[in-house]
């Protein structure tokens, strides 16, 4: 589902697997690419964190808890319907 040429506003999430100074190796579903941490220097990025990478620069750390929360809310709605709750 990824574009061959990256559109300018699409940032892609990947997992940090290695950090060497300001440069991280980021795993995008099996493809490893280098990303600069210059723009997230104050976010305390660690190995294992997910980051959004855009044109070779990480632009933020991805907050997995936030993702889970929004899903949990909707699963509850759907679950309530399927369970036949009033």
């Amino acid at each position: 589902m990824l574009f061959k040429v990256f559109p300018l506003c699409l940032a892609v999430p990947g997992r940090v697997v290695e950090i060497d100074g300001e440069v991280a190796q980021v795993d995008f579903g099996g493809i490893r690419k280098e990303a600069s941490l210059a723009l997230v220097a104050k976010m305390g990025i660690k190995v294992g964190d997910y980051v959004l990478v855009h044109t070779g620069y990480a632009i933020t750390k991805v907050d997995e808890k936030e993702a889970e929360e929004i899903l949990a809310t909707w699963r509850e709605v759907v679950g309530a319907e399927e369970g036949g709750a009033p």
């Binding site: 040429v5 959004l52 632009i59 991805v62 889970e68």
Partner: protein, 365 residues
């Protein structure tokens, strides 16, 4: 979270869940019309690719605004870069812009004529090239909204190689939204661009929500993200409220990436900017501050303001960019204007509404 396979994002692509939220939209709209605009090429791609428009109830409409930076880049700037590439400099830029026609030529044509045009993935690549070839002059044609401006800012702030400069045609999204609202565009709320918001923060839209009484909802790029954004706008409209709502908390904070914003403010100043097919938008452009004149290609090569320009004859890109028509409403769409033989920039850029509509035309009725 991985790009493919099982990931935390998979449920955000779960069709049943998205359809459930679409039913919620139907209930919330209660038959009332609601016209929603997004201003991001990636949102347009997500909406079209997932067929979200077809899931919406009648009357609830999502239209694309000027969310494609390549599409709104003035033709005169493309010509100026082509001239530099043919005049001995190496021009680096993103692949998406190379085929876009300027007023006289495109960078692809300049390259075919022997010009030195090089596609890069990002600013760091361009810097590496310039370091490898210190005897050659490099100009980075720096395009994009708030998602790409911070990279140019941080690198210019740190100092570019002496043989390199930047031509900034960076543009800002909130001034463009305000321009559309002032012009009285028919819209009930905005889906705010996800990754622009990662940089500037959700708070950046507060003035627009309050000043113009329109819901401003930040949304991500998975089908569920977009549908939740639509639902939030429909709900706010029905409730008669207009606030900023951040539905993309996993990547967007209230204040954004402050380091990136500081870098942009340090290196750039705001200027009025020409948006191709739309016109001059006050305070919507970023040019390098005088302190960075040594890194500014506009200063080094004396590139002045370019004239306002429209789209090629018969091309409806201008109306498409303002959400006045869908691509199918343009007489050229799919006939003389196709991705392999594009007439206007909206068919060239991967983020262009027309190229997206053409690619996924089978999905649409």
């Amino acid at each position: 979270m991985s790009a493919g396979g099982k990931s935390i994002l998979s449920p955000f692509r779960d069709r049943a869940l998205v359809e459930r939220v679409a039913r919620e939209v139907r209930g919330a709209s209660n038959g009332e019309a609601c016209r929603i605009m997004h201003v991001c090429g990636t949102h347009e791609w997500a909406i079209t690719h997932a067929g979200l428009r077809e899931m919406l109830p009648e009357g609830v409409e999502v239209v694309a605004g000027p969310g494609c930076p390549v599409c709104v880049t003035p033709g005169g700037e493309i010509d100026a870069m082509a001239d530099l590439a043919c005049g001995g400099a190496a021009v680096t830029t993103f692949g998406d812009v190379v085929r876009v026609p300027g007023r006289k030529t495109s960078l692809a044509e300049a390259k075919a004529d022997g010009g030195d045009v090089r596609v890069v993935y990002g600013m760091a690549d361009a810097i590496r090239m310039a370091r490898r070839e210190p005897g050659k002059g490099f100009v980075h044609f720096s395009i994009g909204f708030e998602t790409t401006a911070p990279m140019a800012a941080i690198e210019v702030g740190r100092g570019l190689p002496a043989n390199m400069s930047v031509f900034s045609t960076h543009k800002l999204i909130p001034p463009a939204m305000e321009f559309l609202l002032r012009a009285g565009i028919e819209v009930d709320g905005f889906i705010c661009p996800g990754h622009v918001s990662t940089i500037i923060g959700a708070d950046a839209y507060r003035g627009l929500a309050e000043g113009y009484g329109k819901p401003m909802v930040v949304a991500g790029f998975e089908p569920l993200d977009v549908m939740l954004g639509v639902l939030e706008i429909v709900r706010q409209k029905r409730a008669g409220i207009a606030t900023v709502s951040n539905m993309y908390g996993r990547a967007v904070s209230q204040r954004g990436n402050e380091l990136a914003v500081e870098a942009m403010e340090m290196v750039f100043e705001r200027a009025d900017a020409e948006w191709r097919g739309i016109g001059r938008i006050p305070g919507s452009g970023l040019r390098l501050r005088r302190e960075y004149a040594g890194s500014d290609a506009a200063v080094r090569f004396g590139i002045g303001e370019v004239p306002a320009d429209g789209m090629p004859a018969g091309c409806g890109c201008g109306d498409v960019l303002l959400g006045r028509i869908r691509p199918e409403g343009c007489a050229l769409f799919g006939r003389s204007c196709r991705p392999e033989s594009p007439v206007g920039p909206c068919m060239v850029s991967l983020e262009g509404t027309c190229s997206i509509a053409y690619k996924y035309r089978d999905k649409m009725q």
